[in-house]
């Protein structure tokens, strides 16, 4: 989240897309209700299904899954055509005025630079025209035909209400109602928030779906403001922490890029990774400090071994030669190139797309280690119903790991608050903490290198591991280490602004620098609602002494943009930060604390970007500088905007690239759109072991539109088979009018809803005669993902439906 949960109460209008917060985030949902109850905020929910969120929204729009770029694109068009954007903000705080290079273009669904053989873009034309000073040229009148503003206006002019309706299935008059409400949010005294979750990310266009919302928010001047922002609800209590600490293959902690092959030293690395300054008034804080953050990370990891002479052990860091994201792992296993896999905190057999193919991949491994508190579909996959154990080559090790309730440590919530928690019960049986298991394995591997030597042991042998008990590091020690210290004084670092690139400072994750000071662990702070007057002095809900929020305890990111050019809040009733004549007050400023806004050299507001301003046009995405609507890979219709380039032209097609048979279906065989999701009663797959929750939703089912059910003679409680090109599900039907038909590209389509929680492990499966043989929802989903992040397209695919 750019903002945080409590901040949602400050909004006038709440757009919810690709999310179902009432069910997936019921506790955080209290702030939606506070906005509604206390300030009369309106909630607009666009979703394929009428959910428990829709039930308490003011407007519900039945939208076709995966078509949100068209929805946001239509709103962008409405705002641009009717001059409803926040003019001062757009001119000064976004790159609307930047001039794009000659040669950039968009024709018939393709941006300039496309190669169909590589299925990739050469993005060199997606950049700014440089002026004589080397910086990007700007036209503050926004009239230049190659200004971002004019290019964007042309790009989105195609997204008329009729076109939006044809793509999304939302009736024109309903879309116009929303456009009217959203159009008012560009006024400085109004503010809107957009809330989304995996419903936007789980598409081949996932990154662009989110960007389209962010572009709308920039146009309305809502980024950086309390009550505004682009807010991702994370799917677990600590997914934000996972991401911050580099759970994804392409980043190091703190969103530093993973080094790439060919980078011989830190200069190469920084040159290819750090943002470049493209405006004289841009601070380019991230780009300027990239090297300091990287060196401090390396210094933290390799201590005395990391010296200036060896580029601070830069060579010890892997430089992956190919994509190593989720599907790539199983793709490699399918190719027989993966020896073993260790799973911690999730179950691969259930959570990935195309479970049947993933199970095939797992059975190709030599070994599989499952670290979990309870049996999972992965620990049991080798004897799952229908699997012949003798055909599985994999040796499976189940290592009992502690549950989070059995350990202390931090949870980082969607709003970036790192909150320390206590151990509630001691570990049961022989369970060990995951980090103790890893520490033990590390120690044994190190011992083997010591005894037997090996190729390039240095990254293992020299790793800093200074814990009181190296086999049992305490999470408190690790948290302290992550913060980083000044090696000269031994004192904890107080801010990443003081990190250095000369090897005198450390930081395990620079964005967490400042969380654990010499005075103690700030994540343990609990000055909350017991005394709102003292603990929330601005009344905006920042509660600065409740836990700790990255970066630097800032509660709303980009908050310089919450104030106008003079440093006054756009809305005095909802200040983020304010220039008081000598310094910025309010939230922790995302800006130098004493920089006078009237100084001609004052920095632009978005300090992390090379441009210094928000990007309406960005070359940071591989599938286009402006979000564009592409159909899901499996879709019943051709793209109404450009039928010849219907789906994403750059989404990576694993099976095709590997020469495996096609696993995508067509509308002729699989006529219905399906989408998968969670229910409030369960948490992914783990709660299949919790009796009280199994009682609430005891059996797998699919939700079927009433109208479609009528034609097939299906009633609630009947058993149905839902099949895709990849697999089938045999479960109960829930027939409901909450799902309905819609007209898309002149065609009547139906959407079927598929909750994900069941499998062949747990209370319900144990009591089923077939042991949940056809209960894995992801047996249906396609093995393809977002062009940028490769997040699987769980949310839009084609199925058939039969009554059994």
């Amino acid at each position: 989240m750019t903002n945080h949960w409590r901040d949602i109460k400050n909004a006038d209008l709440i757009l919810i897309n690709g999310a179902n917060p009432a069910e997936a985030h019921p506790v955080g949902f209290q702030w939606f209700m506070r906005a509604k109850l206390d300030r009369g905020a309106k909630i607009i929910h666009a979703d394929p299904r009428f959910t428990r969120t829709s039930a308490v929204a003011d407007l519900y729009l039945r939208i076709r899954t995966g078509s949100d770029v068209a929805y946001f694109g239509g709103l962008i068009n409405h705002v641009l055509q009717n001059n409803l954007f926040q003019d001062v903000y757009v001119r000064n705080y976004t790159n609307a005025s930047f001039i794009v290079k000659q040669g950039f273009g968009f024709t018939d669904g393709l941006f300039s630079g496309y190669s169909s053989t590589k299925r990739a873009y050469d993005i060199s034309s997606w950049s700014y025209e440089a002026g004589s000073d080397g910086f990007a040229r700007r036209d503050m009148t926004l009239q230049d035909p190659r200004s971002v503003f004019q290019l964007m206006k042309t790009h989105y002019a195609r997204y008329t209400p009729d076109v939006v309706s044809s793509i999304t299935g939302i009736p024109v008059d309903e879309f116009k109602k929303v456009a009217d409400l959203v159009g008012q949010m560009g006024k400085p005294d109004k503010v809107m928030t957009i809330v989304y979750a995996v419903g936007l990310t789980h598409h081949t266009t996932g990154g662009q779906l989110i960007r389209s919302g962010a572009v709308l928010q920039l146009l309305l001047g809502n980024m950086g403001r309390p009550g505004g922002g682009m807010n991702a609800e994370r799917g677990h209590a600590n997914i934000q922490g996972n991401t911050d600490h580099a759970i994804s293959w392409e980043i190091l902690p703190g969103y530093l890029r993973i080094p790439a092959p060919g980078q011989k030293n830190l200069d190469d690395y920084v040159a290819q990774s750090a943002p470049k300054k493209s405006d004289p008034n841009s601070w380019n804080f991230f780009g300027t400090n990239y090297r300091k953050f990287m060196v401090s990370t390396l210094k933290g990891w390799y201590g005395d071994t990391a010296t200036k002479d060896n580029e601070f052990a830069f060579d010890y860091i892997p430089k992956p030669g190919q994509n190593s994201s989720w599907m790539s792992i199983y793709d490699q296993a399918l190719k027989g190139k993966m020896e073993g896999v260790m799973l911690s905190g999730m179950t691969a057999a259930s959570i990935g797309p195309d479970s049947n193919q993933v199970q095939q991949a797992l059975s190709n491994l030599k070994w599989l280690v499952v670290m979990d508190a309870l049996p999972t579909t992965s620990s049991e996959f080798w004897h799952a119903p229908g699997v012949d154990a003798s055909q599985v080559k994999t040796e499976v090790f189940m290592l009992p790991a502690t549950h989070w309730i059995e350990k202390d440590g931090s949870f980082v919530n969607s709003g970036r608050w790192s909150q320390w928690k206590d151990q509630v019960v001691p570990p049961q049986g022989q369970a060990r903490h995951d980090h103790w298991i890893l520490a033990d394995i590390f120690s044994r591997v190190k011992a083997l290198y010591n005894q037997q030597g090996g190729k390039f042991p240095d990254p293992i042998m020299h790793l800093t591991f200074n814990y009181k008990d190296p086999l049992k590091p305490e999470l408190d020690e690790i948290a302290k280490e992550i913060n980083g210290k000044d090696l000269a004084t031994g004192k904890q670092m107080t801010t990443f602004a003081n990190l250095k690139d000369d090897g005198t400072t450390t930081a395990g994750d620079w964005i967490y620098t400042g969380s654990y000071l010499d005075s103690g662990n700030l994540m343990k702070r609990r000055d909350g609602i017991q005394d709102p007057k003292t603990n929330d002095p601005t009344g905006m809900g920042f509660y600065p002494n409740w836990a700790w929020s990255w970066p630097l305890n800032r509660r709303v990111m980009y908050n310089r943009a919450s104030a106008d050019l003079d440093g006054k809040p756009w809305d005095p009733k909802r200040p983020g930060i304010t220039w008081n004549g000598t310094r910025w007050v309010g939230d922790v400023p995302d800006y130098p604390a004493t920089m006078n806004p009237h100084d001609p050299n004052a920095y632009l507001p978005f300090i992390m970007n090379g441009e210094g301003v928000g990007r309406l046009f960005s070359n940071g995405m591989i599938d286009g500088p402006f979000p564009e609507h592409y159909e899901p890979v499996e879709s019943p219709v051709a793209n109404p905007l450009h039928a010849s380039v219907s789906a994403s032209p750059v989404a990576f097609l694993y099976d095709q690239a590997a020469g495996r048979p096609n696993r995508f279906g067509t509308a002729a065989e699989f006529p219905y759109i399906a989408t998968s999701y969670r229910l409030t009663e369960h948490e992914h797959y783990v709660t299949q072991h919790v009796p009280h929750l199994v009682q609430l939703q005891p059996e797998p089912f699919v939700e079927i539109p009433w109208e479609l059910a009528q034609t097939k003679g299906i009633k609630t409680g009947d058993k149905v088979r839902v099949s895709s090109k990849r697999g089938k599900l045999e479960v109960l039907a829930v027939v409901t009018k909450r799902l309905g038909s819609m007209t898309v590209a002149g065609q009547k389509v139906f959407q079927i809803g598929i909750p994900i929680h069941w499998g062949y492990v747990g209370i319900a499966a144990d009591s089923d005669p077939s042991h949940g043989r056809y209960w894995l929802a992801n047996a249906l989903t396609p093995f393809v993902g977002d062009a940028n992040a490769r997040t699987p397209e769980f949310k839009a695919f084609l199925v058939n439906l039969e009554k059994m």
Binding site: L37, H45, A55, Q695, G740
Partner: protein, 267 residues
Amino acid sequence: MAVTIKPGESYGFFTDTSICIGCKACEVACKEWNQLQGDSPKFLADSYDNTGQLDDQNWRHVKFIDDVPAQSADAGNGKAFLMMSDVCKHCKHASCMEVCPTGAIIRTEFDTVFIQQDVCNGCRNCIAACPYSVIALNPATGTAHKCTLCYDRLQGGLQPACAKACPTQSIQFGPLAELQQAADVRLAALHSQGVTQAQLYGRDDKIYGGLNAFFLLMDKPETYGLPNAENAKLPSRNDVGGYVGALVTAVLGVIAGIVAFRRRGTS
């Protein structure tokens, strides 16, 4: 919400269904605190409800009324796909108390209706008498069970588990007068927003003399399976007409008898 809980005052629940999100946290929190095992898992083919009813194992029950109209744009705002966390109403005129032969059912110092397990003899009169089908016999103990309004928690100064767990404050616990005031404010706000179908249920004395656990509903009570004000009266209190009728019949009978005897006497 911090509430100071004092014996001698009236407490209750205000359940605002317009902001209920059907998360069932109340059901689970209730079971966890009161150590209720719950029923064997069973798919009930009734929207998202697999609890079914209030009984000895289920003291909170979220009802789902899965009735979304085809036209979608303004179907939300609590008007469609209704959800309601049902519970023992802790009636002022509690029929269960009236019919209890052993005095097991009492009104506590918090003005709530409580079944004393050590006094209950399992006669089931209360089960038959409760107009809301709240009570059921626990086969293990042979006694009648229902929501205690967390009597034990109240004695310890804690609010009931369901209200504490409710993420949207759809379930509010507090002194009855304060809850009634909050409900009036909420109703007025909804009405001013044009949500005219919103109504309070059990806020005043028209429903069994008033309910300590009262509701804001988004449709008429019958939609939620609740008796409306015309029907929500105890036999002892709503049958004045019946008594008069019976009296008239009796008087007429006596007169008829006298007349008959007289006739016989004269014949």
